[in-house]
Structure formats: C-alpha cells, structure tokens
C-alpha cells in the first residue's frame, strides 16, 4: 500500500491516539520519513493535543473549590442544600 499526503491527513488523529493498525502505521511512518510537510503537520497537531491537556490552559476562578466545599459542608451537616 502506498499512501499520499491526503491519506496521511485523514489519519492524523487516529495516529496520534495509536488507533491505526500496524500496517497503516508503518506506511504512515515511511511517508513521514520523506515528507517534511506531513511531518510538520503531524508534529503541530500532536503539540496542540499536548498543550490542550495542560490544566494551565483553562484557569478555574479563584476560590471555586473553597466555595463549593463550603456549600457542600452545609448540605452534609444538615442534609439540606439551601446552605
């Protein structure tokens, strides 16, 4: 099987997740060895996935946890959610 750039792009996400079979992965790897555009596309997409996983991307408001647990304390102590 010989694959082209378009074929590689169709499998970027599955490749990053390790969700392509052995034969296809080997073919994509061979393509990436000589195609600098697809290598850069794969690198950049994977980098985006890595960055998205970082909790610093999305900041939680200060005091969220404290306010949540304070509210829950009222519930746990009284069995009522109005606190």
């Amino acid at each position: 099987m010989k694959i082209d750039c378009k074929h590689v792009w169709d499998y970027i996400s599955a490749y990053i997740d390790g969700d392509v079979d052995h034969a296809l992965r080997a073919e994509i790897d061979r393509h990436l060895e000589h195609c600098e555009i697809c290598s850069a596309v794969m690198d950049s997409t994977r980098n985006v996935v890595v960055l998205m996983a970082d909790e610093r991307v999305f900041e939680i408001p200060g005091g969220y946890s404290e306010r949540l647990h304070h509210r829950l304390d009222a519930l746990l102590l009284t069995g009522d959610s109005s606190g």
């Binding site: 850069a40 994977r46 999305f58 408001p61």
Partner: protein, 237 residues
C-alpha cells in the same frame, strides 16, 4: 512559512502522556471511588469532599464550556455536586465514577441552557453534521514545513493559555465537546461516547475534525512561542 526549515524529528507513537492530573487519575491515594462511596453511604458523609476533589475541575470546565459564564458555571457546579450527593446510591459502578459525574454535569448544564434560552447558538440537541460522520471528510490541516516545539513552560504565559482556551470555545459545540472530554479531561473514546450519547465512531470523526480545526487555528499563533533554536532532539536537517 519559512522555506528550508525542515523538521526531521519523528512524532512518537500513541497519545501523548499527560502532563497534569486528570479526572481519570483519581488522586485519592489508594482509596478507590467505590470504597469511598460505600463509606459515605454508610454514614461517613464528610468523605464526600475527598470523593469529588479529583472531578471538581472537570465539572466546572464542562459547565463553563456550555454556559460560557463563570458565575453560572460555578452555581451549576454546586447544584451538580448536590445532585451527585443525593443520588450517590444510584451509582452502580457500571461506568467510572468520573464518567458518571461528567454526564450529570453535562445534563445539568443543558438544563440551565434550556432555562436560560438566551444563547440560541448553543443547541440543546447536538447539531448533526450535514455531511454525516461516515468519513473524516475534507478536513485539511494547515500546511507548513517548519514546526518548532512549543515548550509546555510557555503556558506560564497567560496569553498563550487564553489563545488555546479561546480556540476551544470557538469550536462548534459538537467538536468542542469531544475535545474537552477526550483531550482536556482525558476520557477514553468509549467514555466520551457514553457521556455524549453518540457512537465511538462519531467520537473519532469529531475528534479528528476538531483537532484539525485547532491545528489550523493555533499554528499561526503558536509559532511565535516556539524557541528560536532546536535542542538536540529537534535538529533541523
């Protein structure tokens, strides 16, 4: 794009290892959710605090993505955890506790949207793709020949985090959902499908499209954060 700057590094296989804690790493030491839940139901109510700490961030993010308002998201998060506490006896352990919690949070968020109804662009029911989801479709990435690794340390700069956050928020809802659950919360494909009530195949297609959209959106922004020179493992040829 700069001609002549070519990447020789190979992309490692498999989903990248996570750099931060996620809802799938429960963070309760050796106390599994099931054991904690049993003790809470037996009367040790204060353990509920420990049970939910690993998932409280994911619940807020889920609700903020839906409601796009920090105050509403926080109020909805509190209501979500109250419902979880009151329905804890209904958790059968057929899914992970974190998946169950995120599902309840999503339903709570959708209920808030119905009540609020001030954001018609946020459809209550997922918007089905016009071209179906049988294939990945014609989603082409941003083409480039130079991609320099953006170090995670760069996230210390608020501006970059805000760019990434904005890019996710700007995705159409059906794509934002899968990115949030799969890439931000680290749910697996089956768990993501379960929360969204769609097939695993649809999750994969939407995830692919979402990642390509983000790549196209973010590459021009991220390039300015890339280091000027490569380290040993990122030499140019």
């Amino acid at each position: 794009m700069e001609e002549g700057h070519i990447i020789s590094a190979q992309v490692p296989t498999g989903k990248p290892a996570r750099v931060t804690s996620t809802i799938n790493s429960q963070g309760n030491g050796d106390r599994a959710p099931a054991a904690l839940i049993a003790r809470i139901l037996a009367g040790e109510k204060q353990l509920f605090h420990d049970l939910i700490r690993p998932v409280e961030r994911a619940v807020f993010v889920m609700l903020f993505m839906l409601l796009r308002n920090e105050i509403d998201a926080e109020d909805a998060a509190q209501e979500t955890f109250i419902k979880i506490y009151r329905n804890l006896h209904n958790f059968r352990g057929e899914s992970k506790f974190s998946t169950w919690v995120v599902s309840i949070a999503r339903n709570e968020g959708l209920a808030w949207l119905r009540k609020r109804s001030s954001r018609p662009e946020e459809a209550i029911q997922p918007i089905l793709d016009q071209d179906g989801e049988a294939s990945t479709g014609d989603f082409t990435p941003a083409l480039l020949t130079d991609w320099r690794e953006v170090p995670l340390e760069t996230l210390e700069r608020k501006e970059l985090g805000q760019c990434l956050c904005r890019a996710v928020l700007n995705l159409p809802p059906i794509y934002r959902d899968v990115v949030q659950l799969r890439d931000m919360d680290d749910l697996d494909i089956a768990e993501t499908a379960s929360v969204l009530g769609i097939t695993e195949g649809s999750v994969k297609v939407r995830l692919h499209r979402a990642r390509i959209m983000l790549q196209k959106e973010l590459v021009p922004l991220l390039e300015k954060y890339a280091p000027a020179k490569r380290g040993f493992f990122w030499r140019r040829v």
